[in-house]
Subunit: 351 residues, 2 copies
């Protein structure tokens, strides 16, 4: 029998953080691509557009006028999926028809007053200001809500409807599905092994090295063993930190710098403004914030769709929606490619 080689032989891998499996079939990268090719966004975004509701001084859908902000800017989403006062659907009359109350708030956070920058093109102190704003909004909304989901959809391919650099914050009265799964998995790991799952995972990846993308004094970036998206990464603090607000000033500066490096590598991979959805996960907040959440470790997930070039993406469709996630290169191959890329942005370096 042939010797197993991950880059040649399909196999399945387990995601212990979210209790899911992925099919890894690296030999599939050889197939030609005849499917949809994305449009490349060649149009340049103007630095300031008075009609763009995210710009300083612009008027939003509800008639409010944005301040002439010069750092980050947080405001209520004008079309929120979660509102603070929805009534309860009441008890279910059948186990197959279960509904529950959902209350919350949705906010939008602009990263910068200019529309023509993205995080990797911003300075480290400007990114640091974003991190501080993330920590504050977690603190503020976390006082009331058990889950504060910070996420960024970057690029039209990821459903982003506005080119201005921004993220969203949706806080909810319930623990969302994926938060529940991470809670369950991390709690079980801690009770079985006596330490947080992601602390041991980060330590192991530092030893094994093959999936590391970037390391700094306080942070790690790696392609997880169970990554689903082609160039998916996991960003982890080295210290045991449960939530964003706990980060020290030094850890925040270091985070700004490693984020800039990671996002620069992403842009450099296909010389394009790399689309992704990313988001932060930390211990639940709200009235139970004081409970024992030591099994949680703060982390960010980056889920970028591109596979082969700036215009050819991975589609998570039929098999993935009906059966199981499937990927076409190994996490180790993805990490190697990301590691090899320069840390100077292709738009900024001299040619």
């Amino acid at each position: 029998a042939a010797t197993f080689r991950a880059s040649e032989h399909q196999h399945i891998r387990y995601n212990p953080l979210q209790d899911e499996w992925v099919l890894v079939s690296a030999h599939r990268m050889k197939r030609p691509w005849q499917g949809q090719v994305e449009r490349q966004l060649l149009k340049t975004v103007p630095r300031h557009d008075p009609l763009n509701p995210l710009c300083p001084g612009a008027t939003r859908a509800n008639g409010e006028v944005n301040p002439h902000y010069d750092g980050t800017f947080l405001f209520d989403n004008d079309f929120p999926a979660l509102q603070p006062d929805a009534p309860d659907p009441g008890p279910s009359d059948h186990p197959l028809f279960q509904a529950g109350a959902a209350r919350g708030v949705c906010k939008v956070m602009c990263f910068h007053p200019w529309s023509d920058v993205t995080l990797p093109l911003m300075s480290v102190p400007e990114i640091r200001a974003v991190i501080d704003a993330w920590a504050s909004v977690t603190e503020e909304l976390g006082a009331q809500y058990p889950w504060v989901q910070i996420f960024e959809n970057k690029g039209a391919m990821m459903g982003c409807s506005n080119p201005h650099p921004h993220c969203q914050v949706w806080a909810s009265s319930f623990l969302p599905d994926i938060a529940q799964r991470e809670e369950r998995c991390q709690l079980a790991y801690q009770s079985q092994h006596g330490e947080p799952l992601l602390m041991e995972y980060g330590r192991q990846e530092l030893l094994r090295k093959e999936r590391l993308v970037l390391t700094s004094e306080h942070w790690l970036v790696l392609v997880p063993f169970w990554a689903v998206w082609p160039f998916q990464t996991l960003l982890l603090p080295r210290r045991h930190v449960r939530r964003l607000p706990e980060l020290t000033p030094i850890e925040r500066d270091d985070l700004a710098s490693i984020m800039k490096k990671l996002l620069t590598k992403y842009d450099n991979l296909f010389e394009t403004s790399f689309p992704y959805s990313m988001g932060w996960h930390g211990a639940p907040t709200g009235s139970e914030a004081g409970a024992d959440w030591d099994h949680w470790q703060l982390h960010a997930h980056y889920y970028p769709p591109l596979l082969r070039s700036a215009t050819v993406r991975k589609f998570m469709v039929g098999y993935e929606m009906l059966a199981q996630a499937q990927r076409d290169l190994t996490p180790e191959q993805a990490a190697e490619r990301l590691r090899a890329l320069p840390e100077v942005h292709y738009c900024l370096g001299q040619k």
Copy 2:
């Protein structure tokens, strides 16, 4: 306090078949859409293209020449994600680094010799031939493999790389993730309530009526209570049937006819060839096929991405990838819209 109305007030709903929650925020349909608009495929597909590897008489990537088939045509995928002979990765050295063996086969099934038709434009007997081919391939591959996943990716938006009407069949040596979840949920329901989950669910939906789209003597189509995609549907036999090959000739004819109606409604919704991924789920097969799988009920899921028009889709991105699925109209609203649509295809009816 206001009285709860699902179409006005956000809430969460539970999917008992796959153990997942969805956030329903119907008021969100009011927001304007400024994001990505899909290209509309206006180019007409030629009925026969000798360079298209799915056409009768064409030469495929591996040099094989397709027969001049005049019905369905099944062949091995030239770029399979699953191959029959991959070696085993061997035992894991750490609980956070678990991999497993994956073996299988990937096949492609052409529905029709012509490239310019889709299922709703085919005749009922032609669709019946597809159903027979689905049943046979389930039987054939199910003799060896525990899971045979039949799925169709329709439309470039769903990663479909070839316009010729076809589906895929991926059979695997393992129970894929979603199959495992449906197994767990259906088994638990049966042991607690003494009957199959989907038998009781179908019965309840027939009584409640508000989510029904189509009914026939032997089949139901409904928008499930927990639907995630805007116009997602579930297709169920009325009789307790565990797998496709068990369907009687009469049930197969009736299935062909209800599929034609459903897919015609889909195309009529936005007067476009409606993109979707769909697939069949039935009891596991392989060496354990003889075990007790009575908790399973055969069903097909349809997952179509379009939300507002032929060019505006729902993006399952940031919040959905990091926290929880979210939908912008209620399943009841979606069912009502689908119910009201004509059963004659907009391309075929007289104007």
